[in-house]
């Protein structure tokens, strides 16, 4: 019994020595984890290295040429961008939507801003744009939601090739509490790479090589005015600047585009009314964002007059087109969300010269619609109704 304290002391000393030994080796483990996380050549934590090259350009404030060639990976770019944002660099305002909202720029918005719209975004893409910020805890203070009329159209789901059903289902199930069956990704799978020694060596190898961009995506050279280039340019605030020739297309060509759209408006065919279930999810999303304290603004980009008239003429076929705007305005009233713009060009008012083509309003037109975040917030807080006085016409 007399030896018991001695034995305990010995064990304690041994335990301390072993712990000290383990601690002395900890810097090596920390080095592996640090390199694997910070270099991350396969993009398990920070996104693909090619995408990161593009994101680095965006973060460096560069205008980018060739983004239109990687549209199939545009959500990945956004995801990588968000992953590389810090609390300090999260923009105060973001815009969500499709290419129809891509003319919203930092200059118009008046705060730090990133236009997170994805070209051709449908309902699930719209929610995923938000979820990319939400899941990384990088939520902005203000969100401008560019609501396209097709997002409540179930008929277009099958056409959506860029959507990520798992990501959407995860968001709706886990965050909005509306169960949608999906197979969750195992986060442990990627976390194993933090400690993977082969990955560590791969990261060191990639460190030796130059950062690779896509080879096709290039920054606009310093000193060159992007407005003079005949190439589609993604601005550092995420907004789009169409090529010089596209911006300066003859009006006849644009009118021809509009006329073509009257044969069948994009994503709006067979759309008698907005889907009620989808509207419910949309409303749940709105509530979710407001619970997070985010200031919301709806933005309805107008359609060219020719198309709108055509939709009016085929009211049964395009019922959902008009119903979408009604639904959005109703939600705006219910949740005190200002609605800027209208699908109705006569309400703006906008003419066919205000469009680049049959779908996208010009930046000057968008600037007329949205007054900027500071004024929008002030108007909302002052209770000013910013809804356009032009009544939504009965189809």
């Amino acid at each position: 019994m007399k030896r018991l304290p001695l034995i305990c002391l010995n064990r304690l000393i041994s335990a301390v020595r072993l712990t000290a030994g383990a601690l002395l080796l900890t810097p090596l483990l920390a080095l592996v984890v640090y390199v694997n996380y910070s270099i991350d050549c396969q993009g398990y934590f920070l996104g693909d290295v090619d995408l990161r090259g593009i994101v680095d350009l965006i973060l460096d404030g560069k205008d980018i040429i060739g983004f239109d060639r990687i549209l199939s990976r545009q959500r990945e770019v956004l995801d990588t961008l968000v992953a590389n944002m810090s609390d300090d660099t999260v923009p105060e305002t973001i815009a969500l939507g499709s290419s129809r909202a891509m003319q919203l720029s930092q200059e118009m918005v008046g705060t730090s801003f990133y236009n997170s719209s994805l070209s051709g975004a449908d309902f699930s893409e719209l929610l995923c744009e938000f979820y990319l910020y939400d899941r990384r805890g990088r939520l902005p203070q203000n969100i401008i939601i560019g609501v396209d009329p097709w997002i409540f159209n179930l008929d277009i789901d099958a056409q959506s090739k860029r959507a990520d059903p798992t990501l959407y289902a995860e968001f709706v199930s886990e965050r909005l509490g509306i169960p949608i069956p999906y197979e969750a990704e195992d986060p442990a799978q990627s976390w194993q790479y933090l400690f993977d020694l082969s990955y560590f060596q791969g990261n060191l190898d990639s460190l030796q090589k130059e950062a690779v961009t896509d080879g096709e995506v290039q920054p606009v050279p310093d000193g060159v005015d992007p407005y003079t280039l005949d190439a589609e340019i993604r601005r550092p605030d995420g907004s789009i600047l169409y090529s010089l020739s596209y911006r300066n297309r003859p009006q006849e060509e644009i009118d021809a585009d509009i006329l073509y759209q009257t044969n069948g408006m994009s994503f709006l065919a067979n759309y008698p009314e907005p889907d009620a279930e989808r509207l419910a999810i949309f409303e749940a999303w709105i509530r979710y964002m407001q619970e997070k304290g985010i200031n919301l603004f709806f933005f309805l980009a107008p359609y060219p007059p020719g198309e709108y008239d055509n939709a009016l003429a085929k009211a049964e076929e395009y019922g959902g087109f008009f119903g979408a705007e009604e639904a959005v305005r109703a939600l705006g009233r219910k949740y005190n969300i200002p609605v800027y713009g209208s699908y109705d060009p006569y309400a703006i008012p906008a003419e066919s010269t205000d469009f680049y083509d049959g779908l996208h309003p010009r930046s000057e037109c968008v600037a007329r619609i949205f007054p900027g975040i500071p004024k929008a917030l002030a108007d909302r807080d002052a209770g000013i109704d910013v809804s356009l006085s032009h009544p939504v016409r009965e189809p």
Binding site: R11, I13, S14, R17, L18, G21, L24, L25, L28, L31, V32, Q192, F195, D196, L197, S198, F200, Q201, L204
Partner: protein, 499 residues
């Protein structure tokens, strides 16, 4: 996790150790048994075979108890024969059924008898050769009265399935390990630290040397049929494979011994610098010691050993090495590997006197270092000449491996002229098989470290533990950094893990 070199093993081992040292000493063996079986079950491929492991443990445990109680010599012999038949029957069924079935069907087809399909090769349970030999050795020891049958089946099951030994051995004997397992010693800092260093040493040998060499060897042996490699490259790859095999296998044993040491058990040293042996006989006394001694004690000596004249001794030796070759793998190539080793030993013994007389007249042999170097080189070359069959069998199990080995021999003397005609192209050829300057420097440095630290008579962990802390910790860091920066982690399996 049928490998020590997977990511999961360090995590598993740390968890096992933490609980092990917290538990009362009397309970520790049972915890180790549970962990050993968990180690086996972790790999889904092995999960079904746990029954086989448990069955082998139960059958041999019960057989030993019966053997001890039987009085009649013939009854004891029958009991032993039945037990060994069951043990080796399982081994034969899983490892050799396909090989012998293929050979038999080939013979029958050659004899004009059609309709005999070759038996399919079965997936052999990991470690079957190791635990079968450990269990069979125990039963024979009990039969011979060298060891008392173990009463507690759990202790015995731990002896058979002890996880550090089940993948690459060493093949332990009951008198050595079983008695230790029953009474684990208390925690002792220096022992645990030494064991952990031994594990680190094994990782270094495996990742920095064996796997790096493996990349070069695979580039040649894996592409024999496509690249048309000539003699110099084939020779180089074969020479490198010998060292790769040594490092790969001994690294597994280092981890096993290190793990055993951490728990407080002394396991058999399986290697004692075999590639520094000055004779072929000495090499085999230092290579895979646990298997070689197993064959010596349970096969070679019962066959008559060297007690019944030179002819019988040579036949015994050839037979033992043939069996040893087949233990390594069911293929003709492995059989040739075994026979060739046996033949070298027989020739070595037969020419011993003449060689001694010649050596006395060799002027180079007057310098002891030169003599030793020449002898080592010759032994290395002889061993490599056998190892070609071993490596070829690794690529093509079955009879195809033999053709591959013969291809290497057939092309061994080609291409030497172009080597001397265009020495500038040597670098390009070497780079094409993965031998860049960086690889060469890393390998040379790594091999020098291994050879230096292992040259001491005591195990490397003991040597290091005696060094002052200012030398020890830089070495730990150097080994870890060498692994991180230059290790090759593509292959976490062990060559001997397949046997």
């Amino acid at each position: 996790m049928s490998s020590f070199f997977s990511v999961a093993f360090p995590v598993f081992f740390a968890g096992v150790c933490l609980v092990y040292f917290v538990l009362p000493r009397a309970v520790r063996p049972f915890w180790l048994l549970a962990c050993s079986w968990l180690f086996y079950l972790y790999d889904p491929q092995n999960a079904g075979f746990i029954v086989l492991l448990a069955g082998a443990s139960i059958v041999t445990w019960a057989a030993a108890l019966v053997l001890e109680r039987l009085q009649s010599r013939s009854a004891r012999r029958i009991c032993l024969a039945v037990t060994l038949f069951l043990c080796f029957g399982c081994l034969f069924y899983y490892k050799y059924f396909g090989f012998f079935g293929e050979a038999l069907s080939g013979l029958l087809r050659a004899a004009g008898l059609r309709g005999f399909a070759a038996a399919p090769s079965l997936l052999a349970p990991v470690g079957i050769s190791y635990f079968t030999f450990a269990a069979a050795g125990y039963v024979i020891d009990v039969y011979r009265g060298k060891y008392r049958a173990e009463r507690n089946p759990l202790y015995y099951a731990l002896f058979v399935g002890f996880f550090p030994c089940i993948v690459t051995g060493p093949i332990e004997r009951a008198p050595g390990l079983l008695s230790q397992l029953k009474s684990p010693p208390p925690f002792e800092y220096h022992r645990v630290a030494g064991g952990l260093f031994r594990i680190l040493w094994g990782f270094f040998k495996k990742f920095v040397i064996a796997n790096t060499l493996g990349g070069v060897v695979d580039a040649v042996y894996g592409n024999l049929q496509y690249r048309g490699y000539t003699g110099p490259v084939l020779l180089l790859a074969s020479l490198l494979y010998t060292y790769q095999l040594y490092c790969d296998f001994s690294a597994g044993c280092d981890v096993a011994i290190g793990a055993g040491t951490v728990f407080g058990f002394t396991l058999t040293e399986n290697f004692r610098q075999p590639l520094r042996a000055a004779s072929f006989t000495a090499l085999w006394r230092r290579w895979h010691i646990s298997l070689t001694s197993w064959f010596r004690d349970y096969l070679y000596i019962p066959l008559g050993g060297n007690r019944k004249g030179a002819l019988r001794r040579n036949l015994n030796q050839l037979f033992v090495f043939l069996v040893s070759g087949l233990w390594h793998g069911a293929s003709l190539s492995m059989a040739v590997w075994g026979l060739l080793n046996g033949a070298y030993l027989c020739i070595g013994k037969a020419t011993e006197g003449a060689r001694l007389r010649l050596a006395r007249r060799n002027p180079l042999y007057r310098l002891r270092p030169a003599k030793r170097a020449i002898q080592c080189v010759i032994v290395y070359l002889l061993f490599t000449s056998c190892i070609v069959f071993f490596r070829a069998s690794e690529v093509f199990p079955g009879s195809a491996g033999l053709q591959d080995a013969l291809y290497v021999y057939a092309h061994l003397f080609t291409g030497w002229d172009s080597l001397f005609a265009a020495p500038a192209s040597v670098g390009r050829v070497l780079a094409s098989i993965g031998l860049t300057w960086q690889t060469v420097i890393v390998l040379c440095f790594g091999i020098a470290v291994v050879e230096t630290l292992e040259s001491a008579p005591a195990p490397v962990s003991r040597v290091i533990r005696k060094a002052p802390i200012v030398l020890r910790w830089p070495l730990y860091y150097a080994l870890c950094l060498a692994m991180l920066l230059f290790g090759s982690f593509a292959n976490s399996g062990s060559i001997y893990g397949r046997f």
